[in-house]
Amino acid sequence: MSTVGDELEGGATLDEICVVALAEAFRGDGETLCNPMGPVPVIAGRLARATFEPDLMLTDTIAYAIEGNLPLGADPSGATIEAYLPFRSIFDQVWSGKRHVVMGAPQIDRHGNQNFAAIGDDYSHPKVQLLGMRGAPGNLINHATTYWIPTQARSFVESVDVVSGPGYDAIARLPEPSRRFHEIRRVVTDLGAYDFETENGTMRVRSLHPGVTLEQAQAASAFELAVTGDVPVSRLPTAEELHLIRKVFDPSGVRKAEFR
């Protein structure tokens, strides 16, 4: 398996493969508020807009939607503001549906149930308090969600301790009107990209990153991964994408720290 330090085919490294796999999750979104959380997803959102998905709307992570190719962590005060999106408007945007969020998932199961609230059986006395519910319950039931998981082996669990973001089995138990906006678009990890394009809504291998075998991906999962046909290799970044990632969005390499 490759690590962040290794240069793969075409000169790309694992972190860059992951950025592109996440960017691919936004393909086709059009005029949607793209709301990635964390360095790798933020680069991915900006990359998608700069290349194949130009109509995406992106925030400066404070209160404004901004135009242009802002580097990670750069002061957004000089950027062109195209919309005012304080937290209250973000929630309005969530409920009106024109949004695609990327969140983390310390635990995720085969149906896509995600937990970033707490670890342990007793919710009143958790072993580890994590972020809490944050926006996961509302995000999942209202619009597309993608998960970014830098260490698959730690996160792909048999069952989650708390459901903050409901997966396909939990959603299947709801009546139709409540189900209609739920979509887990993609799960991207250090090993591959996954989706739920199976009949029973279980996680399927969509692509594996260069050098990763199906056996390795399966070994890093507590549940059985669905496979349909030949599994492709994750797409390599184009020369333009590599340039944008390395020279424009993240010249100091902040993205690489997520893999440690």
Binding site: F87, A118, R134, G138, N142, H182
Partner: protein
Amino acid sequence: MSDKRMTEDEVVAELESGMTIGIGGWGSRRKPMSLVRALLRSDLTDLHVVSYGGPDVGILTAAGKCRKVTYGFVSLDSIPLEPHFRSVRQGGLLPEFMELDEGAFYLGLMAAAHRVPFYPTRAGLGSSMLANNPELRTVVSPYDDGEELVAIPAFEMDAVLIHMNRADQKGNGQFLGPDIYFDDLFAMAGEKTYLSAERIIPTDDFLKEGPVHTLRVPRTHVDGVVEAPMGAHFTECPPDYGRDEAFQKEYAATAKDPEHWARFRADWLELESHEAYRAKLDEKSAS
């Protein structure tokens, strides 16, 4: 026109143990910290705090002041998990809590502000939010769709504390940063609302400070005004000042060691007044 100016201690003297207290701001942003510290040094206990939680919730729960917290998250922003709150939760030391989707939390505030019993939402369906909060109920749409939705109950609050950039002595509040968060709803939702501000200015001067859209907290919902320069410290209060990250780091580190925490509380959080706190901050930055 009435003059609503008061001190932090006069605000706390109007509160009682067992009350439900709403605290404005968001995470480690524009929190009414001089009022939170006044709560800390009071003998009030058994509180139910309602907050988009930051160090307000961390401090009050770690000091054992809370019976219950209603929250969507408790974060220091640049430190994603509030470490004191984390210790309290992991120690099983918080008797009751209601952890909600953070958008659903907005609806609880809005329901209280509008004096209706609940607002409906899909947030929570299919997640553990309902199972973990057995007091939450669902409601069926009375229209033809018949959809079942989560009914987020109104957050009825005995008192609300918010911090603004500017206010006048009548209680009108002005925010000058990028986001008011939900402080206008907090103000409307509180049985009593107390507003601290960086500066109290003549009403005539509001529009010299910012555009008319920044005048979002009307005096009809404000019962007391406290002038508290640096009143949100160490949380951010732009454009007046940013977050004091070094101070926040020091605060966060005290969660690891009860003695360190006790010392930090005595040295900083339990000083006799906001003036003493500011004087000590000045001393610190001079050294």
